[in-house]
Amino acid sequence: MDTANIDVLNTLLDKDIGVSEKIREQVKELDKKVRTIVGILGKIHSTPSNSMGPLLDSVEPVLYSCREILSAIASAVPPDQFWRWKEMWSNDIRSLVFAAALIEFLKNGGLLSVSQTSETLGIQEEWKDRFVLSVEDYLHGLIGMVNELSRYAVNSVTLGDFQEPMKISTFVKDIFSGFTMLNLKNDSLRRRFDSLKYDLKKIEEVVYDVSLRKLVES
């Protein structure tokens, strides 16, 4: 192989290495933020409903501080190369979706849509060819939230809140039937969806327990 050809290859590779280093630097920061967020949200299991508001309020600033990092990642990605690099941050973005959707449910009882999630995370329309919230990542985030809610249903009862499991049950069933509309291929999303039924079952058992004992009016 002649040196001219090697030079061509090296130039191209150096460019790629530059991009991946820039992204990795940002992702490292993002990892830290995500750990903080997930850490705080872990406290919902031991927080009575009357102090839930302040707990969630304390997460939001950290969540919003991720916007800056996502913006830095978006500017590091060359045009049309979103799918080339997204693996580097997809775990983080799924956790962020999880956090945003969980907060929304705990605050307002509803499902945070993709566009609302994008808005919360400060993902801009003009990043379209460099950074978007993919459907796949959004759905992964939702599944993460359902996993968490099945635990929360149990723990809310322990904390004396018998109404919460009812709300969770309706909400999760709604999401589950949404998932059943999708034709998923055999990938990690499919496998995680398949495990959702166990969460559903767990929540239903809690609902059954509290209804049976007339702890809630049915």
């Binding site: 790629d16 049309d80 459907v135 949404g178």
Partner: protein, 257 residues
Amino acid sequence: MPPKTAETFELFRQEIDESNDRRERLIKASRDVTNISKKAIFLLHRIILEDTDDDRGRRAAVKGRSKLDEARPYFAAMRLELVGDRFWRHQRQVSPAVQEYIEALSFAHYLEHGSIIPFNDTQAAFSDADGLYFPLTVSDYLLGLSDLTGELMRFAISNISRRGGSTTANDICRLVRDCKAGQFPHFEQFIPHIRDLGKKQSVTSSSLEKIEAAAYAVMVRGSEFDLPPEILEDLIQQTTVRFDIGRRDDSLYNNGS
């Protein structure tokens, strides 16, 4: 299910289906291109061994490339599916085809020019009047070339008993060694940056060893005869040609009578 959720998931379904269907179409096209490329490689091997004249490399390359042209309509169709950010979304589905195509292309190039096809020439061969079919990655180029070494090994060995065969085998050894780790390391230096290159390079190493073993055998056995190499080659060739056309028994009878 509240209508809003149903609506949202309906949109997801459309997007997921669309992407999965595109993926399937690309996998099919990719398989067809791989098939054509494999046939082109076999064709090259066949033609190059038909004759021993100096022009055989060029002749083989011309025919091989015209076989490879059959892949063009597939690439043109793939281009439409890989517009904008879709290329990187589906890169993994098309990359096996691209690698196989480069393997065939580089083999034809080697037979004609005796060298490794440069990246720029590969890009040129991967385009039509509208430009590149889709981006050609350094990774696919290097992985395709890694596979080329296997073909070179096959060629070196099946060619070794022919006129000039051991010289060709030695040239190939040099070329493959040079690719692996030349004055400044080539393929080896790219291994940390290119997924799967390490694996393919270990295959290259074993191909190289096979070529080296064949070159060694010719050298050692050749030394037993006190003849100039050209005459020795003629001798070998005559013998193998007789084997080829099954006259071995006849000649035995003739000698015996």
